[in-house]
Symmetry: C2
Subunit: 217 residues, 2 copies
Amino acid sequence: MTITITAFERSPDGGKGLARDTRVRWAIEEAGLSYEVRPVSFRAMKEPAHLALHPFGQIPTYEEGDLALFETGAIVLHIAQRHAGLLPDDADARARAITWMFAALSTVEPPILELGNARLLEGSKPWNAERLPLVEDRVRVRLDQLSVRLGDADWLDGAFSAGDLMMVSVLLRLKSSGMLDEYPNLAAYVARGEARPAYQRAFDAQLAVNTGKSSTI
Amino acid sequence: MTITITAFERSPDGGKGLARDTRVRWAIEEAGLSYEVRPVSFRAMKEPAHLALHPFGQIPTYEEGDLALFETGAIVLHIAQRHAGLLPDDADARARAITWMFAALSTVEPPILELGNARLLEGSKPWNAERLPLVEDRVRVRLDQLSVRLGDADWLDGAFSAGDLMMVSVLLRLKSSGMLDEYPNLAAYVARGEARPAYQRAFDAQLAVNTGKSSTI
């Protein structure tokens, strides 16, 4: 059955791979599947046809036959549970890999989203200069803990999994901030993720949509 | 196999059910399982023995034989996938219910956490009075959309599921703010969740730990 996802017609990041369709593209590529993309404009995203697919008016969505899903985490998990390449076979190891997916989305990403809001939505507010370091420190609390847990391992729990896919994707949001450089093992972890051929294909595909050309990374 | 979870020795909310162990207790009760609780002090939470179980030094954790998990979402999903009562049998409906779990944790909860940070961590900052309405409006964006999607349905997608368990748990954090009252269908949805016998048992159990007595709700 054909997989169709939605993505920004023009991504706010101009193709740096931070839009959430990159996470889904990456999972699809790791699983060796093919997919089609339906671009959605900012205006169309808030219209009834798209809201029927995604009640929060965002991208990506995922359609496969009669099944329609939203939420990047749910889509990646759906792909990971039905295809090889993203979750270990052993039931306990599988549950632990899924734990890291939730850790990325529920524990590590929220302070990073708050930092993004501080920069994007409150950048011109009078409190921004004094408040920004507080918000950055909330991110560092999580990076400190994640860095300790990762140690010198390549991935969070054995082989690469959907948990790493999600954690790397979340950490990529910090790349432009320079904060990752404070944690050499996390920076190297993110670089390992980016070096995966499946990530490269996903990155190139979203870049092509946004710039009309392909990456040469 | 015995299920053992960790919970606050003394919850910061004094037993209002907002600590995340309530979500796991609720899932266990919906599945009709029994469990044991190991209380953890704030100090012990940051010590190596607990960090080995939970790298971010939080509660709850979940142990069952050789399996050890952290992250509320992962634990609830683990229980839901292995026992009846929390996910539909049909594969597509199951994927949609899991989507609502992720929507609760990744889309609806982050602005609520940000609001909590604004109140708890920045309540005495000079910018708080001017900033708080901005943060509240970010929460309202999600509540507006969720209220539209729920409409006059009892639950988000057919029968009660782990998706509702998680969404109700996330919305409960707003109860004291009065914001839920702006959305009568969401307030009624949360009340339906709270009225479930499994929720009541979970609430009573965490209350007993924190007050030494049982609820009479």
